[in-house]
Symmetry: none
Subunit: 203 residues, 4 copies
């Protein structure tokens, strides 16, 4: 039987997590100390270790929370009934948005977690897979409907989309804002008909 109420525990948990998100975003993982986080959360250093195993665990928790929050939106878009192009555009648009609005979390993931030795097989990797698989399912349904070429390499398309957005957004992270609408539209257009000029000028 807990000595403090479950709600109080949840509040503590959340404020530590929030403080960590903030701090990691601003100063990076190595640049943030547990004392920083504890102070921002209004608790003692020691208490952090009651809620999280260690600093690394806290980082994972921050990213897990980000993924789960963002994924709700993406899955809603994927579940919607709409033509292939609309759903593709929707998911690309929302993903760019996530990158732009939560650039800090993305940067954390890219520079601190994805490269870590223990990333393979981690919970965060599972989440990342679920995240990207949403896009994969959309493309699969496009193929099923005959809108997308069946000989396409789905995983390659996935990497093209996520990779392009990551690259694209990076500049925006440090400085001038990114035009989300234009970028989403441009990417969809490029994906639909490719680079090549065509006599018939269809695209």
């Amino acid at each position: 039987m807990p000595v403090i109420s479950a709600k109080r525990m949840q509040d503590r948990h959340d404020s530590i997590l929030g403080a960590a998100r903030e701090a990691f975003a601003q100063r990076g993982f190595e640049g943030t100390s547990i004392a920083d986080i504890a102070r921002a959360a209004g608790v003692s250093d020691g208490l952090v270790y009651r809620y999280f195993q260690n600093k690394r665990d806290l980082l994972n928790a921050v990213l897990t929370e980000f993924y789960e929050r963002t994924m709700v939106d993406l899955e809603a878009i994927a579940a919607r009934e709409a033509p292939f192009e609309v759903r593709l555009h929707g998911i690309i648009h929302r993903h760019i948005e996530a990158f732009v609005l939560e650039a800090d979390a993305c940067r954390l993931f890219i520079s601190e977690v994805r490269t870590a030795a223990d990333y393979q097989g981690s919970a965060v990797q599972q989440l990342n897979r679920r995240y990207t698989s949403i896009l994969v399912r959309i493309i699969e349904s496009g193929i099923a409907k005959g809108v997308v070429r069946s000989d396409i390499d789905i995983r390659l398309v996935r990497d093209v989309i996520f990779g392009a957005i990551e690259h694209r957004t990076w500049a925006a992270v440090n400085g001038r804002p990114l035009d989300i609408d234009a970028t989403a539209a441009g990417l969809v257009q490029l994906l639909r008909f490719g680079l090549m000029a065509r006599p018939e000028g269809e695209a």
Copy 2:
């Protein structure tokens, strides 16, 4: 008259640089200590500072050396006389190769340097620009020849290509090998004609 021969100095320089490349690749920048590098290079801690200003400088040197080495190949490909598709394929192929063969350097760049606060305006950023500009010039020449649609967003294409390869190769970095030829061919194909199925079935 130098106290040691130029060759000996070059050797020292190279062994420190090599040890640093190895160590950074395996344990990351923060995870590597100067003592680690010195030990691996068979020199004293202090000597590292005779050849490199500080730890950060050593990281820059590792990446500069990688970029310059790889860029020689890329520029040769870009300079070749060949149809657009051939040159595009060539450069994509070589870039994937670089990623696969020197995954360590790429990982370093991505996770330690590109995200650093002082990346903007740094020498490494200059090199990265030169690197990516090779691809940009190929696309421009494709437009000039009328092979590529003139309304294409070149910077978006660049981000698609580099981003896709980065994402794609990531899996290969940790574990199973990547089929370089297939990946290059698939990416070129996707870029040429896009995702969409076509009645004429040209692609």
Copy 3:
């Protein structure tokens, strides 16, 4: 509720401060390492930084403590109702005593702090000013009472007294003892009537 008692904290503080005073006195500021001090105080290196901001701060604390302790006596003497000569003698005597009994602190101040670039405007300089101003006020009251020549340069007198004692005591610091009474008496005598032989033989 504090984790350890206030007394225990005070003890820690004092033992670190004491160890620092001892170590600085024996080996100078640069010659003393934090590890030396921690070992002598029976604590870990890290704990020193919980009680003092850094090494420099520790030095300031040592000197502040010395000044404040000594100043209590000096101010009591200055506040006493007594003829000018008595008060002058009292303060000179006590100042010499401080120099002799706490030669280490004086040496520290003279050789490590007063010459430092950041001395001007520092807290220690404030204390030093308060310290010397006690003497200045006594001389001023001597002038007010008509016992001391009104055309005297008070700051020069101050420098004569403190400078002389500093010089004088220096020998005593390293080796043979100084006769405090004789020195105080001699200095007062010299200050009262100067060097010159006088026909009337008054002095």
Copy 4:
């Protein structure tokens, strides 16, 4: 038989010594590295050790040179035939001048040498004794001539003069200039007749 000429050796010696004086003056003893000095002197690090045993020895040499240079003037003043007051004033004036013009050397002596463990019995201490003994001889001759009270403590007078000047000049070292003439005159006046107001108003 030396492989290089004695003159060349002397030049080397002097340029190293000069570079050291400059560097110590500007950055202090601890703040100056042998490499700094070697660079400024236009020689290699190693060569410094052919001319001086170690860094400490170099500091001693700098101060010895200063003392010897200044002492020539002082001894000339002491040797002059003149009334006591004139000679006393002359030597005080010249000493203040030395302090003001070569504040750096004085600061070095005060903060780096006089406090060192090996000062007692050192060559620099010998020089310091010779330096101060010049003043002592002047006072003795004043006593012999009956101008100075015979019951005066000569060593105390010496400490008063040198101590006062040291204290006085210190402020001048960091900032506003010191009026050498006024200070010398004021000190002589104070020493001659003391602090006390006198009915006859002789002083």
